[in-house]
């Protein structure tokens, strides 16, 4: 065993906090302390991170099953550093926003902390096997969080999400085993670095079956179009901290995995099957987008919108060039922050009013101006307004994807042609998707915060205390990186291993 990676502490802090909480420590205080500690740990790691150096840093490895080349290897490069940042900051916001439920607050906080440990572990893993395992750590806590403390049709939502995610993850497991088995014998390993090295040496046959298994497995986890039906309901029913972590961070696992695994190892399959993925992601953006417009409740609308936005990131992935992949990576962060704020605010509104039905709400910005302002910021960030980090991400994705594929415009073989290829059509759909998201976000804002104020809501308290601070911090980060996206681009660029 080499030296201990500082990333190990990032995983251990939430686990130990969860154990302490279960053992009887004050749940809320311990969780917040753990989350703050983790943010500080992360900042320490980030300070020592050298952005100029390619490859993984802070690597430590501990063999677990040497016969199969499985080892517990931690490490971080620019991309995972961004995801780790997202994880710790959203965890902090989630525990701050969490209200202690009437009974069994201990399980509630322990579940949130376990999800957090899972996402941190997944993004800090260099070993593909542990990358997968850590993601699954969230499965049971999510089941409990939705089932016990959820709202609405929580039981159905919890079952559906659990069975869907379990199926998806086992399909993904097959994909990962396949990825392992196409490695040349003798150099087989689950270590990402070894896999990429094998691929760069040209020793890995590009297997479409493995790619499709990965795509379906990750696709279910990310709620890619026909596999998305579990997500909106689950997010709508889950308590706010669970939705924040799940929609904000955990769901990014799938796209992160595709960028990490498929891009360097299976580039040909990605391009070969691009038409299928382009069709699906266009459905994600347009079909789910229209479904979002049709929603009558804020929580379901946010659930659908988070599914819809996955389409943009998929577009960035499948377009497969430096611009689009960088944009996709930026969108991982921006969407995570945005949807976390939106779900946090949604939870705050539910806490105050007990309903999220558009027809019952209205005008509450008059009594809760801070809440209204924060929602306005987050809604604009979600649409992709310049000044927020999402804008930079979307712009890069669109530039990248429009330039991808065979050109169909201009002079080809001496003849003037004018047409679009699949990537360009998908890009046009995606741009139209921005209009769709503007429609539903503005409409939601109008229905909830504008208009006449009903007497029922005339005494609503405004945002205050820790939840307020957490939301302000998240919005601040969105604005900061919106003005300085180059910091992220510099981090991501060496991590993208385009063949």
């Amino acid at each position: 065993m080499s030296s201990v990676s500082p990333l190990l502490f990032l995983i251990l802090v939430p686990i130990l906090s969860a154990v302490l909480v279960m053992a009887g420590a004050n749940p809320r205080f311990t969780s917040i302390l753990g989350a703050v500690l983790n943010v500080l740990f992360f900042l320490a790691v980030a300070v020592f991170f050298n952005p100029a150096q390619a490859g993984f840093q802070f690597v430590s490895s501990f063999p677990v099953v040497p016969q199969l080349g499985i080892s517990f290897t931690l490490g971080a490069d620019g991309l995972s550093l961004i995801m780790l940042f997202l994880s710790v900051i959203v965890t902090l916001a989630a525990v701050c926003v969490a209200r202690a439920p009437l009974e069994n607050a201990r399980w509630f906080y322990a579940s949130i902390l376990l999800i957090s440990a899972g996402v941190v572990g997944a993004f800090a893993s260099v070993d593909v096997f542990f990358f997968y395992m850590f993601h699954e750590l969230a499965l049971i806590p999510t089941f409990l969080l939705i089932g016990i403390w959820g709202s609405g049709d929580r039981q159905a939502a919890a079952w559906k999400a659990t069975v869907y995610l379990a199926t998806g993850s086992f399909i993904l497991l097959l994909g990962i085993i396949g990825l392992y088995l196409i490695q040349p014998e003798g150099a087989r390993s689950f270590d990402l670095r070894q896999m990429v090295a094998n691929a760069q040496a040209g020793q890995v046959p590009d297997s479409p079956v493995v790619y499709l298994l990965l795509l379906v497995g990750f696709g279910i986890l990310v709620s890619l179009f026909p596999f998305h039906t579990w997500a909106p309901q689950a997010y709508a029913s889950a308590p706010a901290p669970a939705s924040m972590l799940h929609a904000g961070v955990l769901k990014k696992f799938g796209l992160y995995g595709l960028i990490r695994l498929a891009v360097p190892i299976l580039p040909e399959s990605v391009q070969e099957y691009a038409p299928i993925l382009l069709t699906l992601l266009a459905c994600n953006i347009l079909y789910v987008g229209y479904c979002t417009i049709a929603q009558r409740k804020l929580d379901l609308m946010l659930g659908y919108s988070s599914v819809m936005h996955m389409g943009y990131i998929f577009l960035g992935f499948v377009a497969f060039n430096q611009f689009s992949l960088t944009g996709a990576s930026l969108m991982l962060l921006s969407h995570g922050l945005t949807i976390a704020v939106l779900f946090a605010l949604c939870g705050e509104i539910r806490e105050r009013t007990g309903t999220l039905d558009f027809s019952e709400l209205g005008g509450i910005a008059r009594v809760t101006p801070k809440l209204g302002l924060a929602f306005g910021f987050a809604a604009m960030a979600s649409v992709g307004l310049p000044g927020f980090v999402g804008f930079a991400g979307e712009l890069l994705v669109f530039f990248g994807s429009f330039a991808s594929g065979e050109p169909q415009m201009g002079f080809l073989d001496g003849k003037e042609v004018f047409g679009f290829n699949g990537y360009q059509i998908a890009t046009i759909c995606a741009v139209w998707g921005i209009v769709i998201s503007a429609i539903y976000m503005l409409r939601a804002y109008r229905r909830v915060f504008m208009g006449p104020l009903s007497d029922r809501w005339s005494r609503l308290p405004d945002l205050a205390g820790l939840p307020h601070a957490a939301i302000v911090i998240l919005i601040g980060i969105m604005l900061f990186f919106g003005f300085f996206p180059q910091i992220l681009v510099n981090l991501v660029t060496p991590a993208l291993l385009l063949p």
């Binding site: 399980w107 199926t167 097959l174």
Partner: protein
């Protein structure tokens, strides 16, 4: 150094001694017997680390082998019996209520002693390398289990279970003997090692007859391991039998069945023509068992019955591993899976017995609100269910992963696909107990569930092992033959 047979002899002597002690001592506390049995078995377990691994005297006889596999399974059987006895101590009040006797404590002594004899049979079976020897050991196990399944005589379910088990057990014994005679007729031998040698000189025309005999043997073993389509006795017997015996059946009897399967198939895999056919049979058995076990488990409402179906389902995953036996890692994957299955099934039963005692039943609804009554027990059951379903960071996940890895390596894609679909249904029915414990409110006026210290220790150990092996399986793989 001790000769290896001494282990079985010690266990048999322990059983006889306990029987004598029960008859001649007037002490009315039968739990002492159980403690004695547990102590004795622990001693034998410790002894098993000091035996000669390769005794000269045993090499030529051929009917008794001592290799890593057999030693591993001997220890497996010993531990399973110890855990069964711990369960049985907790279960004693229910036994006493359901056994007609003049005094409540009369007639419950054998409940602790019979498993010891079963254990001896299991240990012999682990070393058996001759059809006759396998048969004798198998009968010792089965006959003592017949009595144990039907032990609670006032319970109709237990009697029904006993009858079913007896009739179908006898039937499978018949198949076994019949198959052996065919194989003996064609090869002139009952010793597996010699059969392997003789196979190459048996004329091609007789291969069909050998295959027929082997098929009969496979049917009989199919009964023991509860592989579809020979699984129909399982749900009723598991539900009706006293809970400790159900656990014993589910773990020890099944593991023994798989051990025999490995031993019996080994010599026949040498011939290419046999190998292809046998693997095809294993594939079909595995696919059927997976589909039947998992789908039939979905609508169950009784937890014991659910575990019965789950044991069928797990037999399916184990068969997937056996069908992939060509892979270098597959053998270890199967043994690892069995060990994981041992831990998680016993953990489930260890939690179930006190809950049954406190609530008076073993339906899923009897687990309602357990998390509010006894958070520790509920957490243990949560871990057991998660492991049975195959959630990562538990031993159950690694078991499934190793088996699937071996199967993918052998290109059994269709089977793996079936496996994945059935895993998904497994998540549904195992999570039903988690739902009952955590989502549902506890019935009015219930306090914490009482657990004996010995059970607490066993529960703690099983939970810990499941989690530790779920992170670091190498701890066990290192010991695998």
């Amino acid at each position: 150094m001790i000769p290896p047979v001494a282990l079985e002899i010690c266990v048999v002597c322990l059983g006889i001694f306990l029987l004598m002690a029960e008859s001649f001592s007037f002490k009315s506390n039968k739990v002492t017997l159980a403690h004695g049995a547990i102590f004795g078995l622990v001693c034998v377990f410790i002894l098993s680390f000091f035996i000669e691994t390769n005794p000269v005297a045993m090499q030529d006889s051929g009917f008794y082998v001592v290799d890593g596999l057999s030693l591993f399974f001997k220890r497996f059987a010993l531990l399973a019996t110890i855990l069964t006895l711990i369960l049985a101590i907790d279960y004693l009040p229910i036994v006493q209520r359901l056994v007609p006797a003049e005094r409540p404590e009369a007639g419950s002594g054998e409940f602790f002693i019979l498993p010891v004899f079963t254990c001896a049979g299991l240990m012999w079976m682990a070393s058996a390398a001759d059809f006759i020897m396998i048969f004798c050991a198998l009968e010792l196990v089965t006959i003592s289990l017949y009595i144990q399944v039907a032990y609670t005589r006032r319970s109709l379910a237990s009697l029904e279970a006993g009858t079913k088990f007896l009739v179908l057990g006898a039937l499978s014994t018949g198949f076994f003997i019949y198959g052996i005679t065919w194989i003996f007729g064609m090869t002139g031998e009952t010793n597996l090692a010699v059969i392997q040698k003789n196979l190459s000189i048996v004329p091609e025309a007789n291969h069909t007859a050998i295959l027929f005999g082997l098929a009969m043997v496979l049917v009989a073993i199919g009964f023991k391991i509860a592989a579809a389509p020979f699984q129909f006795w399982v749900p009723d017997v598991y539900q009706g039998a006293p809970t400790p015996i159900t656990a014993f059946l589910a773990v020890a009897s099944k593991a023994a069945g798989f051990l025999i399967l490995i031993r019996v198939l080994q010599p026949f895999f040498v011939l290419e023509s046999f190998q292809a056919k046998l693997i095809l049979v294993l594939l079909l058995l595995a696919a059927l068992t997976l589909i039947y076990g998992n789908l039939a488990a979905i609508p169950q409402t009784n937890f014991k019955r659910l575990l019965g179906y789950s044991s069928i389902a797990h037999a399916g995953y184990l068969l997937v591993g056996l069908a992939a036996i060509g892979d270098a890692f597959a053998g270890r994957a199967v043994v690892f899976y069995l060990s994981g299955y041992f831990l998680m099934t016993f953990l489930a039963f260890l939690v179930m017995v006190p809950v049954t005692k406190a609530t008076g039943g073993d339906d899923l609804s009897h687990f309602n609100g357990l998390a509010r009554r006894s958070p520790g027990l509920a957490l243990a059951m949560l871990i057991a269910a998660a492991s049975l379903a195959g959630v990562p960071f538990t031993v159950g996940f690694f078991g499934k992963f190793f088996v699937f890895e071996a199967a993918m390596n052998q290109e059994l894609y269709l089977l793996v696909l079936i496996g994945v679909i059935t895993v998904a249904s497994g998540f549904y029915y195992y999570f039903k107990v988690i739902r009952a414990m955590y989502w549902q409110p506890a019935p009015e006026g219930c306090g914490a569930v009482a657990v004996s210290p010995l059970s607490k220790l066993a529960i703690g150990l099983c939970t810990l092992l499941i989690l530790v092996l779920g992170f670091y399986p190498q701890l066990l793989i290192r010991f695998l033959p």
